[in-house]
């Protein structure tokens, strides 16, 4: 008899849990997500950092402090197994005033307590050797070599592809409407697509983890969104080599200046607390972006002109009551596990959270986990034409001419890459074709022109492969269709 597990939320936490649980013979794992694709919630818009684990106070936030450093170590292995784009470039937490050193000493001390290796304070020539473009106001920095960056949505996609390859079932566009509890035990999950039976329900619902918990009768915490805004610059703008933080304040790690994995300089985020009900407010604001600009300029005085901005965006971090991660089996509802309040450093901690959940299932729910005889830890990254050396490219083109044809001119994404992305969308159960699903897998539309040349061509490919009319292709799921009908629809009076 298999134990049926329902994971609510296919973000970085839910996907990591699905992957870890896919290893066990006696679990049947269902991954439930209301969006049309995975990784579109909290995981979508953040600083994409694999943090060093030095800034969470183990007294105040013991779970964060413990899981962050553990997560960092596991990511070093997972990025290889799952072929996730990454860079281990290290971070500098920069002091510009004498009194900042007190804070840096505190972080150093805390980092040592949390088990962070190789940290030290650097000054003078060494500092500017590590980061030549840093503000001349800098007088020292805490150097944390284990900090890195990954591409967060591609990471979720990689995890889910691997989980599905190992037998996990996905339910996309499936919104949880209720949790069925009988005699203090969970029995399953009610959704807009019917009932999903489960012996264990794992609540990894991000911003909505409080709402899901309340469906099971658990209401001791609330999640409010904290908005952060970002700028992304064109890839010909020289950015820093390291991740640059200012010396943190009690509320925030501060505005980061970095060069993200695909080579674009990025600055952000600010931090604006929103009321709990504003969980859909992903709008950027003039004030927020101005704050980011001013903040970033303190570390990186040579900010490019605004004409080099290729994108601005906002993300919401789920701030829980109490501030620490809530990861536990709830005693009053047998089989219900909360993975809630996974704010920063959630991306870093995700793999550690997943192992923690496996342990909770075994230790607290008494399910003895039996490893599969054959479990595949590996997942092959999608072909990126722009990364192929020419002779490799020619081998690909010989097999399939679509690989020789460039669709996204800014990033050299080929038609072959896009067809592969569509295949992989179908593999994990993406039903509603969207340009964003292709974008997150291939990087098409993310370059200098922001898709104005390639989006119409991607729409054609999606329409063909999914067998729908091109105007019904969406940007990011239902309600975001590319058009309202064919070009004569209004004149005929029969718009879609």
């Amino acid at each position: 008899m298999k134990t049926r597990v329902a994971i609510i939320g296919a973000g970085i936490s839910g996907a990591s849990i699905a992957r870890v649980l896919s290893r066990y013979e006696n679990l049947e794992v269902h991954l439930i997500e209301k969006a049309p694709d995975v990784g579109w919630g909290v995981s979508k818009a953040n600083t994409a950092l694999i943090h060093g684990g030095y800034d969470d106070d183990p007294e105040k936030y013991p779970v964060r402090a413990r899981l962050c450093i553990r997560g960092n170590r596991i990511w070093h292995q997972w990025v290889k197994e799952l072929q996730i784009a990454h860079v281990w470039n290290g971070a500098l937490i920069v002091a510009t005033k004498e009194e900042d050193f007190d804070e840096l000493e505190k972080l150093l001390e805390r980092g040592r307590k949390n088990g962070v290796p190789e940290m030290r304070i650097v000054e003078g020539d060494e500092l500017f050797h590590l980061e030549p473009g840093l503000t001349k106001e800098a007088i020292g920095a805490l150097w944390v070599p284990i900090v890195g960056q990954i591409a967060p949505i591609p990471a979720v996609i990689a995890l889910v592809e691997n989980a599905v390859a190992n037998g996990v079932k996905t339910h996309l566009e499936t919104e949880v409407t209720g949790i069925k509890v009988e005699n203090g035990e969970v029995k399953g999950v009610e959704t807009n697509n019917g009932f999903i039976e489960a012996d264990i329900v794992i609540n990894a619902a991000g911003l909505y983890a409080d709402k899901i918990a309340r469906m099971a009768g658990i209401d001791y915490f609330e999640i409010h969104p904290r908005k952060g805004e970002y700028y992304l610059f064109d890839d010909d703008v020289p950015g820093p080599r390291r991740v640059l933080f200012p010396t943190p304040t009690p509320v925030s790690k501060g505005i980061v200046v970095t060069t993200e994995v695909s080579g674009h300089m990025m600055i952000g985020p600010n931090a604006q607390d929103l009321p709990p009900e504003e969980k859909e407010d992903f709008a950027t604001t003039e004030e927020g972006l101005r704050e980011v600009w001013e903040g970033a300029r303190k570390l990186w005085p040579n900010l490019p002109p605004k004409s080099k901005v290729i994108r601005t965006f906002a993300g919401l971090r789920p701030e829980p009551t109490g501030g620490d991660f809530i990861i536990k089996a709830e005693e009053e509802v047998q089989g219900f596990i909360n993975v809630a309040g996974i704010r920063s450093p959630g991306l870093t901690s995700a793999p550690a959270i997943a192992y923690e959940v496996a342990e909770i299932i075994q230790r607290d729910l008494g399910v003895k986990l039996v490893e599969k005889e054959r479990w595949n830890p590996y997942r092959k990254e999608i072909t990126h034409f722009f990364m192929l050396p020419p002779e490799k490219a020619n081998e690909m083109v010989k097999r399939n001419p679509a690989y020789g044809k460039i669709v996204c001119r800014c990033n050299h994404v080929s038609e072959g890459d896009i067809l592969e992305a569509i295949e992989r969308m179908k593999f994990i159960g993406v039903k509603t074709p969207s340009v964003d699903s292709v974008k997150f897998r291939t990087k098409a539309t993310t370059g200098t022109c922001q898709g104005s040349f390639c989006r119409p061509r991607i729409v054609q490919l999606l329409a063909r492969e999914y067998g729908v009319e091109p105007w019904k292709i969406t940007l990011k799921g239902r309600g975001s269709e590319i058009g309202i009908g064919d070009v004569k629809a209004l004149l005929r009076g029969d718009e879609a």
Partner: protein, 421 residues
């Protein structure tokens, strides 16, 4: 730089990058001059942006006849085929390498594979891209229904998709105005054209479109924010003062499902920058001499990669000039170095090209003013040249012909200024 024995090699006199009007005119002329030419274009069809420009207004100078975009493109394409110009579509340039003056390599990919095309000269005619919503600082929700004008045009006129029914257009340049008409003709409601400047940005004949279709024009206004869930629902417009600062309390919302951005074009020159071609910040294109040769010998540029043109006829003219120059370059082993006359921007000249003149030939200078003026003279004081014009506008490029003997009188530099007559 490494040679690449692994990739199939082709060899030509000239490789033309880009199959729009500049590239096609260049390829035709080069072939007529007896050069061995290859033209590369990334699209599945020749013509560049022209096949989606289904409106008339093309060709009056070049073909002495008014044509639509597709007609203009097909005439050049037909000429290419008649002459037997070799061309490859669906072929995207990955990299340009400059080994020496007469040894250049264009690495491109195509459905037949990745190739290296060796050439003595390159004519770069890759066009321009449009500025997008993020670049002009629009904040708010990142939703469906935000298109550049060119993208909306591609959707409608290449793929037959209608993007929306209630439209706000940012920018009153030609492309924005033409798209306003296009949407109106298909039954959509164009609710506003919003222009940052205190005057419209397009050619007078296109500004007429607004009257014809009863479309409101907001001058000295800008769109600052978009809101919606999934799709655009409304856009926020605000008035600006003469310094382009927002006027407090002047904001208002327009309900719309589509926002079309027509905020200007930027020459596509990234690949040229990578090999060290010097760029003029005013035009956004390369600094060139009167052969349209860039700062890298043997690399010529024409069309919207050189500077943003408002007539396709000038674009084609530049293509021909670049081809003639490539011929001279190959025959003589280089464009002779000399004491070039430097062209300088004077009063009310925002941009001008070419930047250096030889004095051994007549040239057309292409320039734009910074602000509109009535009853002006375009003057070149060093040579006493004057051209009287009833009106000048930033939207309308001025083409000023200088004769070789005039340029010879100039000395080290000549200044072009636009002043009251």
């Amino acid at each position: 730089m490494e040679p690449m024995p692994q990739i199939p090699m082709l060899s030509y006199d000239v490789v033309v990058i880009g199959g729009g009007p500049a590239g096609m005119a260049a390829a035709v002329k080069a072939k007529e001059l007896g050069l061995n030419v290859l033209l590369l274009d990334e699209n599945d069809y020749l013509g560049g942006i022209l096949p989606q420009c289904i409106h008339p207004g093309f060709g009056l100078h070049y073909f002495k006849e008014e044509l639509t975009g597709p007609e203009f493109a097909s005439r050049l394409a037909r000429r290419m085929v008649e002459l037997g110009v070799e061309y490859r579509t669906s072929s995207r340039v990955l990299e340009i390498r400059n080994y020496s003056d007469l040894e250049k390599v264009v690495i491109f990919t195509s459905p037949a594979g990745v190739y290296q095309a060796w050439a003595k000269a390159i004519i770069y005619a890759a066009g321009a891209r449009e500025r997008h919503a993020f670049e002009i600082g629009i904040v708010g929700d990142r939703v469906a229904g935000i298109y550049t004008a060119g993208e909306a045009q591609t959707l409608m006129d290449v793929y037959g998709i209608l993007p929306g029914k209630e439209i706000v257009i940012v920018g009153s340049g030609d492309v924005g105005l033409i798209m306003a008409r296009r949407f109106a003709l298909e039954g959509a409601k164009v609710k506003a054209v919003v222009e940052l400047m205190p005057y419209p940005g397009g050619l007078a004949r296109n500004v007429m479109i607004l009257k014809d279709f009863n479309i409101p024009l907001y001058l000295s206004h800008k769109v600052v924010e978009v809101r919606g869930r999934g799709r655009v629902q409304r856009v926020k417009v605000v008035k600006v003062d003469e310094n382009f600062n927002e006027v407090p309390g002047s904001e208002f919302w327009i309900e719309a499902d589509t926002l079309v951005i027509s905020a200007g074009l930027v020459p596509s020159v990234k690949k040229l920058k990578k090999i060290g071609v010097e760029i003029d910040p005013a035009t956004g294109g390369p600094i060139v001499n009167d052969r349209l040769e860039t700062s890298v010998p043997g690399i010529f540029v024409a069309g919207n990669s050189l500077l943003i043109n408002d007539l396709v006829d000038y674009v084609a003219e530049q293509g021909e000039l670049a081809a003639e120059a490539a011929k001279e370059f190959i025959d003589k082993g280089g464009i002779e170095s000399r004491n070039w006359v430097k062209v300088e921007k004077g009063e009310n000249v925002r941009l001008i090209a070419p930047h250096y003149l030889s004095g051994d030939r007549d040239v057309h200078l292409y320039l734009r003013v910074a602000r509109p003026m009535e009853d002006v003279e375009v003057r070149v004081p060093e040579i006493g040249k004057r051209l009287r014009l009833p009106v000048v506008k930033p939207a309308e490029m001025i083409r000023l012909k200088l004769k070789a003997e005039e340029i010879q009188k100039a000395g080290e530099k000549l200044t072009v200024e636009v002043v009251g007559a």
